[in-house]
């Protein structure tokens, strides 16, 4: 037996009717916020008669302030259409589906407007008229949809009930009898929360792309942390390490009395490995390693550098380290190239100039007569924002070769770096 629930009044929320239906049966099909279909098989022990079950549904809808339309029938299409058409409780005995649907108007089938207009021009006003049309002739004139519509008008199902999936909520909480101080004892409790949570994720074919940790503290406040990583994982060990590393950097200010962890689920990834290319690093291990490094270096000081599209010297961005699949696009240069070992920020220098060229340099890293030099090379940019303008020299002194520059806006000299 199937049950149809419908409420013409605007619902308090889109899930009101679905949640109500789930209180009665686990298999619920939602066709939008309303109507909703229930599979009522096997409920005879709780509600021995259809009338009792219908009255229970009716009462539950009234309790929520809805206008109840409840229909119980042997087929899903009958329950659905009658629930949409009639207020109150309607119970259709088995075998009476076609008779119950016959007086109902055609528009309850939710047809395409053009098709509905065509049927009206043929004089079809009710579902009974539609059911009475000759099968062969109707199929010839109306196309393949014809037999399907005719079956629906007779209260016969063409497809089974498709249950709506249960809302996924991955959350675990633990209340502690005694407050816990320090991260070491807390790590054991965290494992007890994370292990069932990750097992639940794995059982549903999900991974966590982020975790929200909420710690109830003795002073009554909440300590909240949110972790997000590029590599979704359901490894409790990895998540525990990441959470502990984060808590080392941002410790709670009091002892912990309650733990609540909420996972942000994402579908499990499928990776097609390459036969020819080097293996990619394990995402969980990479995330853990990066978190450990960041806890030592500080946020924003570990990652992969990328050059910016600007002429400003030394401009780069440090992004997250996420090496993709290896693609051998360019070959390394055959000849070794010297590198600049930059000073951040550039070192102020005292420079003696003769005939426009530096002849003596004194700075924190080098001091001496300029033996040889190349330059000057002028560069400038960003005049529309924070302007820069510099005059560069490569100079050799006894202790090495350095890149100097004179800031043309301030006239000051700096050592940009050592050429090595």
């Amino acid at each position: 037996m199937f049950g149809g629930l419908h409420s013409p009044r605007p619902l308090p929320s889109e899930t009101t009717l679905v949640l109500l239906a789930r209180e009665f049966a686990p298999r619920v099909e939602a066709l939008g916020p309303t109507p909703v279909l229930l599979d009522l098989q096997g409920l005879g022990r709780v509600w021995p008669t259809p009338e009792a079950l219908g009255q229970a549904l009716l009462g539950a809808m009234r309790d929520r302030g809805l206008i109840p339309h409840v229909a119980l029938a042997g087929t899903r299409v009958t329950a659905l259409v009658v629930a949409c058409a009639r207020a109150g409780l309607t119970i259709i005995p088995a075998g009476q589906e076609a008779a119950a649907l016959a007086p109902l108007p055609l528009n309850l089938l939710d047809l395409d407007p053009d098709r509905e207009e065509l049927l009206r021009r043929w004089g079809v006003q009710t579902l009974g008229d539609l059911a009475a049309l000759p099968a062969a002739g109707f199929a010839e004139r109306f196309g393949p949809e014809g037999p399907h519509l005719r079956r629906l008008a007779r209260g016969m199902d063409d497809s089974p009930l498709v249950p709506a999936p249960l809302p996924e909520r991955f959350e675990m909480a633990m209340e502690l009898d005694w407050p816990v101080e320090g991260l070491e004892p807390f790590s054991f409790l965290l494992a007890r929360v994370l292990e069932p949570l990750c097992a639940n994720l794995k059982a549903r074919g999900r991974r966590a792309v982020g975790l929200d940790l909420e710690l109830g503290l003795v002073d009554g406040t909440l300590h909240r942390r949110a972790l997000h990583f590029a590599a979704p994982s359901c490894e409790p060990r990895t998540w525990r390490s990441l959470l502990l590393l984060d808590l080392e950097a941002h410790p709670p200010r009091d002892a912990i009395l309650a733990i609540r962890v909420r996972a942000e689920p994402t579908p499990a990834r499928s990776v097609q490995f390459s036969l020819l290319d080097p293996a990619q690093p394990c995402p969980e291990r990479l995330a853990e390693t990066l978190a450990r490094l960041q806890s030592r270096a500080g946020a924003g000081r570990v990652g992969a550098a990328s050059l910016l599209d600007t002429h400003r010297p030394g401009a780069f961005a440090l992004g997250s380290f996420a090496p993709g699949p290896f693609m051998a696009l360019r070959s390394a240069s055959a000849a070794a190239r010297m590198a600049l070992r930059v000073f951040r920020p550039p070192l102020p220098a005292r420079v003696a100039v003769r005939d426009g060229a530096p002849v003596f340099v004194a700075t924190a890293c080098a001091r001496g007569v300029v033996v040889d030099r190349a330059g000057p090379w002028r560069a400038s940019g960003d005049w529309w924002d924070v302007a820069w303008s510099r005059e560069e020299w490569d100079v050799a002194v006894a202790s090495g070769v350095y890149r100097l520059f004179r800031d043309r806006l301030s006239g000051a000299w700096f050592v940009d770096g050592e050429l090595d």
Partner: protein
């Protein structure tokens, strides 16, 4: 599969297998091969390159080409698909120089230290331990150049021995870049570089360019094997 597609695929496979300097295929023994620097004279001196499973060092004074040579090693390795890490306690790496040297920046993890932070060097050494223990990176560079020798000596005595023990038997190379000899494993390379002076294009005056740095390379402290190379200017 169409015959044209099949022929094209076979061509690609043949090219990948026969290219001597191409990345090794999965399953091929890359674990034993040393990491080549890409400089034939230096690789010949090192008998193939920087050995894996060992702590090696490249040291020399300022402008002796230490950074340029190690970036060449990183460029060659990342070009072969290796993941590398550059631990930089003094924050001296220039990504533009690295890119000009051919380094695949996306495959190079950069750990930037805070030059004036207390325990900055100790943190960098701990980061090296984390990187070596992760099993993700095949080449780890610790840049100690420019750090005063007294600071390096303040590290615990067993630091380098501990790091050597960590990588023994695994296909990871740890390279120290330093001003002077620091440490190397029993079978690790110790490459000493000495500057022979810069080379310039043309006579002194406007329009002149720094052409490169001439460098003498020597292996070990007591051997007489040596090589010379020139590191070209990158811009």
């Amino acid at each position: 599969m169409s015959s044209a597609l099949k022929i094209a695929l076979e061509e690609i496979l043949r090219a990948r297998r026969l290219r001597a300097d191409g990345p090794p295929l999965r399953g091929m023994g890359r674990s034993l091969a040393p990491l080549a620097t890409g400089q034939s004279s230096v690789d010949a001196l090192l008998q193939g390159g920087i050995p894996r499973g060992q702590v090696s060092e490249v040291h020399g004074p300022s402008s002796s080409g230490r950074t340029g040579l190690v970036l060449s090693l990183v460029a060659r390795s990342t070009g072969d698909g290796v993941l590398a890490a550059w631990v930089d306690p003094a924050d001296r790496l220039d990504p533009a120089s690295a890119s000009a040297a051919g380094v695949e920046l996306a495959r190079l993890l950069w750990f930037r230290g805070e030059p004036r932070a207390p325990r900055g060097l100790a943190n960098a050494v701990a980061a090296v331990g984390t990187l070596l223990g992760s099993g993700i990176f095949e080449l780890v560079v610790l840049d100690l150049a420019g750090i005063p020798a007294c600071e390096v000596r303040r590290l615990p005595d067993n630091t380098w021995l501990r790091l050597q023990r960590m990588i023994e038997g695994i296909p990871v190379a740890l390279v120290l870049v330093a001003d002077a000899h620091v440490a190397h494993g029993p079978e690790g390379a110790s490459l000493a570089l000495r500057p022979s002076g810069p080379s310039w294009s043309g006579a002194s005056g406007p329009g002149r360019l720094l052409h490169g740095l001439r460098v003498e390379a020597r292996v070990g402290r007591h051997t007489i094997r040596g090589a010379s190379l020139e590191l070209r200017a990158f811009s």
